[in-house]
Symmetry: C2
Subunit: 278 residues, 2 copies
Amino acid sequence: MPTISTPSKIAGTKGYGANVIFSGSTSEEREAVVADVIRDTGATLVPPYDHPDIILGQGTQALELEEQVAEILAAEAKEGSQTTNGERKKTQLDAVIAPLGGGGMLSGIATALQGTGTLVFGAEPSFEGGDDGRRGLAREPPERIESVKTLTIADGLRTPVGVIPWSVVSDKAKVRGVCSVSEEQIKAAMRLVLERMKVMVEPSAVVGLAVVLFDEGFRKLVEEEGGEEGWKIGIVFSGGNTTVEAIGKLFEAPKKEAERAEGILGKNGERVAENVAG
Amino acid sequence: MPTISTPSKIAGTKGYGANVIFSGSTSEEREAVVADVIRDTGATLVPPYDHPDIILGQGTQALELEEQVAEILAAEAKEGSQTTNGERKKTQLDAVIAPLGGGGMLSGIATALQGTGTLVFGAEPSFEGGDDGRRGLAREPPERIESVKTLTIADGLRTPVGVIPWSVVSDKAKVRGVCSVSEEQIKAAMRLVLERMKVMVEPSAVVGLAVVLFDEGFRKLVEEEGGEEGWKIGIVFSGGNTTVEAIGKLFEAPKKEAERAEGILGKNGERVAENVAG
C-alpha cells in the first residue's frame, strides 16, 4: 500500500490478516516494490482493475443488487403501494449508476447486467480532467485517454480507465453513457449521505448520486425516457475509506479554505504569514 | 425545536412532514413556547422521556434486538462456529448497554428485558458531572440528582435522569449498573464507529461502546462473571444527529483546539487576536 493511504484503510487491511508492505505513491514506485515482492516470494500479481477475473468478480455486486431489488419490488407490489393509477409493476431497476475510475467495477456491473434491460451508467469527477472516460467517449471516434493528472477530492477515481475496462465502457450495448460532476456537487452529495443516510462514505463513493441529483443531461434523459413515472435507479456507493480529519478538512469554513489557497494558512491550518489581522 | 438544533436534524424532521416551531434552547424558553402552542391549538404534549408511554415505546427496541440476536445466534449455532470446545450454546445476549440521559430509552429497555436473564447497563459522559445517574446511584442511600450543568460533547445526554426513569434505573433488578466515560474515550469510540463501521453517529450514541472498550470496572465485571468465554453484549447506538462541520471541529488538530481555548481562534476558526505569530 502507498504510505499515504488512509490510516483506517491500512488498519482495516491489517485487521483482515494481511501482511502489508508499503511503497511510494506513484505507479512507478508501487510497481518496483511489487516486482521485488514477486521476485522474493513467488507471489501472484492481482491487478486492481485491468484483468478479466477482477472485472467478473466485481460484477457479482450487480447480481446481489438484482436479487435485493427483486425482493424489495415484490414486497412493494404485495403492499400495492406502487400499483395505483394502473402503473405497470416494475420487477427490476431501470438503471444502475456506478463510479468510474480504473473501470473494473463499472465494466463488471455492465457485463453482469447486459441484456437484462437495466441500463448502466458511469459517473466521474470532472475536476482537472478527471472525467477521462466521458471525454474519451466524446472523441470522434471514441478513444481511451491513457493518462490523467487530477487532484479531485474523489481520489479513488484519479486513474484513467484501463484497457480491458475501456473495451466494455465504450460498448454502447453495455454502458449507456458516462456523466461527470464538479467537486462542489460531490461534496453536496456526500453531505447528504453522511448527515441524512448516516452512512460514512468517501468522496469517490457518491459521484453516482451527484450525477442523479445534479447532472442536467442525465436528469433530462430520465425525463425523456422515464416519463411521468421516472426511473428506478440503483446507485452504487464505493467506498468508505476516509477519516474524521479528512471530512473536517473537506468541509471546513470557506474562509479558512480561501486563506489556505492564499498561503495564509498552511496545510494543517497553522498560520504561516505573520501579522495578519483576524 | 431549539434554534440551535443540528441543521440536518431540523431538515430531517421537516422531511417527515412535521410543522417545526422554534424556541430558545433553555428548558424555560422551550416550555414557554410549548405552553403557547398548547393554548393556541389544543395540542397534546408528548414529553421526551419522563412519561410511561414514552418509556414503553422506547422499550420496543429491546424486543427488536432480542429477535435479531436470536436469529443471528441460531444461524451461528447451525454453522457450528460458536460450538467448538464444548461451549454452551447461547441463545440470547448476556448484557445490553445503552446511553443514559433523561433515561426514557434505558428504562424502556430495562423494563422490556426484566426477567429475561439479559443484564442491562447504562452509560454516561463523566465530563463536568454529566454522569448524574452514576453519581446518584453511588449516594447512600441512592438518590436522584435533579440538576446537571455539563457541556459534554455527548450533548444528547446533558439532561439529568427524569423522575419516572429514575424509579427504573435505581432498581437493581432492572438496571445492573451505570458506568461513565471521558470525552477522549467517547471520541475514540466515535472514530472507530465512523472510520471502521462506516456508520455516522453523534457522540451521545457511542458512550455504551466507550464503556465496553475503556471502562476498567465494567471490563473487570465481564471478566469475573463471563469467564473465559466473556459476554455477548448488545450495544445501543442512539443517535446520528450531527454534521460534517461538527465532526471536523470535534477532531480538529490539538493546536487549533488549544488556540480556541486561549481565545486566539474564534468559534468558527477565525483568528480573533491580531499580531500572533504562526
